[in-house]
Amino acid sequence: MQPAIAVRKLTKTYAEGSAGVAALRGVDLHVNAGELVMLVGPSGSGKTTLLSIMGCILTATSGSVRIAGKEVTRLTEKQLPRIRLEHIGFVFQGFNLFPTLTAGENVELMLDLKGLPAAKARKRAEELMEQVGLGEKYESFPSDLSGGQKQRVAIARALAGDPDIILADEPTAALDSQTGRNVMEMMSELAHQRGRAVVIVTHDSRVLDFADRTVRIEDGIIVDSGQPATLPAPALMTHAFPQHALSLAGFFANPLEYRL
């Protein structure tokens, strides 16, 4: 079976003055359906760039990107939105909900993009909100929701498009540890029970145990890839989001809390 995402010899160079900046330098990666892969690495290593290119938001400088078997690097700017709409759902660090729409309407928006009539969109949105445990919050505005609730609405919205692939950029960064784990459980279910290919960029070492595979990127290349437990311990102590940061003392005081 072909991978949901297949990246081969991918490079991305940002032109900056007289010298370009190589954000990605020959990356090879595949993600299968039903797999949850986490991209880790220091800030500026190229994780978000890789995620953006897999999400057909940025174009590669060279290399191949296949999404659900389709080569997307040769597609025009006008064709890429179609790929995103049909195959990819996004979950963002900042939730990116529309503040003037209710939680339910945020989900309906995705269904409207898919061309569902209003009544059907509403019904489907209600089902999705129930699935993420927020049925009673359908008419609430994002400003009335907690961080975890917002992220669950965002997940419902991402699922509304029935995508093969879920791409998440630091989905737990703005959440406390318990809420973050709840969100991760949902992401894990999307992969392992609903068969989606899930790729998550994260700095949060607390959630690495959810990954089937962790890929470490440094300076635009993959330096390590494997089970979270097989990666060297210090390599995982990257820059956690400050409000959820753990001191080194805390780590060594209770190492069992952090499964590596």
């Binding site: 939105p81 049909e86 003037t100 928006l109 409207d112 498009g161």
Partner: protein
Amino acid sequence: MPPLAQRNLFHDKVRLTVTLTGIVFAVVLIVVELGLFVGFTQTTSNLIDNSGADLWVTSKNVTYVEQGFPFSERKLYQIRAIPGVADAQKYITHWTGWKRPDGGQESVQIVGFNPDSSLGKPWNLVEGRVEDVKRPDAVMVDELYKQKLGVTRVDEVFEISGHRARVVGFTRGIRAFTTSPYVFTTFKRSQEYANLGEAQTIFVLVKIAPGADVQQVRREILGGVKDVEVFSSRQFSRMTQFYWMFTTGAGVAVLLAALLGLVVGFVVVAQTIYATTVDHLKEFGTLKAMGAPNSYVYKVIIKQAAISAVIGYVLGMIVSGFVVHASQRGGAAILLPWQMAAGMFFLTLAMCIGAALVSINKVTRLDPAIVFKG
């Protein structure tokens, strides 16, 4: 489609108020200026449009109705002999002075007509009858100019060019484009007020017979009567309108003011919609990241502009309605024909949607990668 456009629009009430204020200002200014233009234009050719004549015979080189030069009234009889002419009457318009009770002088335009004919008589009488001008020294003025002329009621006596003038009736709505009101009287009396010779006239008004061809009769008059010009009423009306509105520049000034209103409205709406778009840029980026084509995003922005246009138009027309109503008793009537009101709707819509194009350009160039910026 979830109500994203409406919600974004009404979410920021201050900005919405600014947007609507800009649109209302534009609508009112354009309506008032165009209404003045239409009102002025109609006023300039009032005498011609309400004369009942099919043709106007003038001396040569006359380009507007106030410009007439005297010619021999013998030409009247030549004109009456032309086949197809049902009626022809002498007619005078001439500037002269009106003496107020307080001794002050006002410039007026004497209009001399034959009260036994249907041609060239005053219209919209609110007091008195047309036949009353046959009474000694009788004149009629418009009630709009009562104060200007010092008139309070009928039967008051005044002086025109050293001759008596008794007000025997009032009309309503017969405005003069210049500051000099029309004073209607008999043709003979007008010759005295205008210090014209007895055998002179300024115009001859012609009514053609049923079934006769206006242009054919016109050509025959030109061929049969020397040293005259002959215009259809419509043609003479347009010439007079053109002279006052464009040759003098009065109309151009009014149209420029209307254009200014359009520009101001456009700029205000463009600025506020642009500011709203920038505020919601990340949302538009999210929409694009979700797979929305540019056209979907454009629809949201255009819908915002269209809703603003409709609300602004309604409010603007309400205000304009009050202004138009208030102007009816003033010296310059602002007219608002339904065609102009309808056209104004589409102009407002076009103005707002055009203003939204600035924002559309911004969103088109938006990099969806903005969604990953925290």
